[in-house]
């Protein structure tokens, strides 16, 4: 059923997505070209300043420029999230394709491991790993990769298992194409849409996880301008200067909202069934 509402919805999403892309482009331009302040420059004479031309978002409890830190935080938070996601996809997809295509022992082994990891919540895995290896952003990223690759392996496997029955794969086999070639050239293209949808929805979740755990001290460590870590550092000053609480939080919300909307949009576009997102 196509009603006026759905059209409006996609349109609004498109507007939001493009606005956001423009925003990112300008942030990138700003950070690389005209960054005025050093993000870790401490000036105790300029502590907790309100907004001004000099410091559009004010300064924090150590006199560091908030705008600069928020913008660099974008690089950090989103960059880390993206890195973890990329590695999870790079590990998970080939594993899933191979398992689904070959079947047998590899397949069963992989599914066992996948089930085991799905039984444990992401946050718990991240906490357990930080507990064993020590708190820090590297270990947090490792934990995220460890949790997330499973989703991609499962997704890739289930797609490959349905595709491999089809005639064109049989034809390819009869024509003597090597297994690797079939996987790469014939099976992989079927996955791209699904993976993009899942990945963009995951990006938001990963960013939330990174900033939450950084807030409680298990991720990025201050003075890194990661948004969660910034909130952690500034907590004693929230009451006097609410801006210190508001800006990093809004930054997280915007980025995650973008990632979720992008996921929804791609899902409609690739016509991926809803189950993928679950």
């Amino acid at each position: 059923m196509k009603s006026g509402l759905t059209i409006n919805k996609t349109c609004a999403t498109k507007v939001f997505l493009s606005t956001f892309l423009i925003l990112i482009a300008s942030i990138a331009a700003y950070t690389f070209l005209i960054l005025k302040h050093d993000p870790s420059f401490v000036d105790l004479n300029e502590r907790l300043l309100p907004m001004s031309w000099q410091h559009p978002f004010g300064t924090d409890h150590l006199g560091r420029d908030m705008l600069t830190r928020i913008l660099l935080g974008f690089q950090l938070t989103v960059g880390y999230g993206f890195l973890a996601l990329l590695l999870a996809v790079a590990i998970g997809v080939p594993m899933g394709v191979i398992a689904g295509f070959k079947g047998g022992l590899i397949d069963r082994l992989l599914m066992r491991v996948a089930d085991a990891f799905l039984a444990f919540p992401d946050t718990v895995v991240a906490i357990v790993l930080s507990g064993l290896l020590g708190a820090g952003i590297e270990n947090l990223l490792l934990a995220i990769i460890l949790v997330k690759w499973v989703n991609y392996a499962r997704l890739a496997r289930s797609t490959v298992v349905t595709e491999r029955q089809k005639d064109y794969i049989t034809m390819a086999k009869i024509n003597g194409l090597s297994e690797w070639r079939i996987m790469l050239k014939h099976l992989f293209p079927h996955l791209i849409g699904h993976i993009l949808v899942l990945a963009s929805l995951d990006l938001g979740k990963i960013i939330l996880l990174i900033s939450s755990l950084s807030y409680i001290g298990l991720g990025a460590q201050p003075p890194a301008p990661e948004w969660g870590a910034m909130l952690n550092e500034a907590r004693p000053y929230f009451q006097t200067v609410p801006a210190l609480m508001i800006y990093p939080g809004l930054a997280i919300v915007t980025v995650v909202l973008f990632s979720n909307l992008l996921g929804d949009y791609l899902r409609d576009k690739f016509d991926v069934k809803k189950e993928v997102a679950e």
Binding site: L5, F120, P121, I127, G134, L208, L218, L231, M245, N260
Partner: protein, 314 residues
């Protein structure tokens, strides 16, 4: 039933084996020779023999797998000993924390139902109208707001500025309100959307049209037919995400200084309190096992088809 339990137990075992193995590997591969760093403490020059001797004593010359086996054996003995920080038995401390964590989880669920049920139902009943739009907007936003930030805002507004509710610790029901509300709001956005789409599906069913034709009142149709038919998918997702709910509680516990097991482990990680961390891993494994088994068994109970097929999961 025994098969389901065995399967779930196997999952927990596989998970524990893998996660400890990976962390073991990474800890050993980390830069810096632990032996050298131990000997260098005194800042004396060390001879090659000394290094070799200590390495032998600490078991670093054994194959990696043997080292890992010994480490596992320590874990499997389950006697986690006393906390480095408080010097109390770890298991006693954790036993004290579990009720607080469960209390918070239940509180969060209660708030979630309170929010999701009306919002999801109204959105489905008045599809495309303003209330549906508002509910869509709220759940989009809700999915993007980090729960810890929401918690900070609620603390600042309701706790500090207005002074209505306590923001720290666990002291009666009062102190559970803010953390539960934070948790409940954080998880409800998923359920609002889910309930809405599930309700819309069941509203379009033939039997609903038939019930209308029979002249049954709208509220009655909604509550005893539509809502009932829409719940299974919601419960399925709920079961799957119950574990992540417990994970999410950790962050909330830390923000509100709520003395559950989540806050305990975060403090332990900060203080490098290994007995406590090991105890937490063990307790979490048990919790996950129990919850997932209950969820599996209740699916079978709710869905006779599964019982007949002999499959344990949806």
């Amino acid at each position: 039933m025994i098969r389901i339990l065995a399967r779930r137990l196997a999952e927990v075992a596989i998970f524990l084996l893998l996660i400890t193995f990976v962390s073991f590997l990474f800890a050993r591969m980390a830069p810096g020779d632990p032996v050298l760093s131990i000997l260098r403490v005194d800042d004396l020059s060390v001879s090659a023999e000394q290094v070799e001797q200590l390495r032998e004593d600490m078991g670093f010359n054994e194959p990696l797998l043997v080292q890992y086996g010994e480490w596992l054996a320590d874990f499997a003995r389950l006697d986690f000993g006393n906390s480095y920080i408080s010097n109390q038995p770890v298991m006693d401390m954790l036993r004290g924390g579990v009720p607080a964590t469960l209390e918070l989880t239940l509180g969060g669920l209660f708030v979630m139902v309170l929010v999701a049920l009306p919002l999801g139902s109204l959105a489905a009943l008045y599809r495309g109208r303003w209330i549906d739009q508002v509910s869509r907007g709220l759940s989009l936003l809700g999915a993007a707001v980090p729960s810890f930030w929401l918690g900070l805002i609620l603390i600042d507004l309701l706790g500090v500025r207005l002074g209505w509710l306590p923001t720290m610790g666990r002291d009666g029901l009062h102190s559970a309100v803010l953390p539960s509300v934070t948790l409940g709001l954080a998880i409800s956005s998923v359920y609002v959307r889910l309930l809405r789409s599930s309700l819309i599906d069941s509203l379009n069913q033939e039997n609903i049209r038939a019930a209308r034709a029979r002249g049954i009142s709208e509220p009655r149709i909604f509550f005893s037919h539509v809502l009932r038919a829409s719940l299974p998918p919601v419960i399925t997702v709920f079961g799957v995400s119950l574990g992540s709910l417990i994970g999410g509680v950790v962050v909330i516990e830390v923000i509100f200084a709520y003395p559950g097991i989540g806050k305990m482990v975060v403090d332990a990680i900060r203080g490098r309190d290994y007995p406590m961390i090991q105890g937490y891993i063990f307790v979490m494994a048990i919790l996950v096992f129990v919850i997932n088994s209950i969820v599996d068994l209740s699916y079978r109970y709710l869905n006779p088809e599964l019982r007949l097929k002999g499959k344990g999961r949806v």
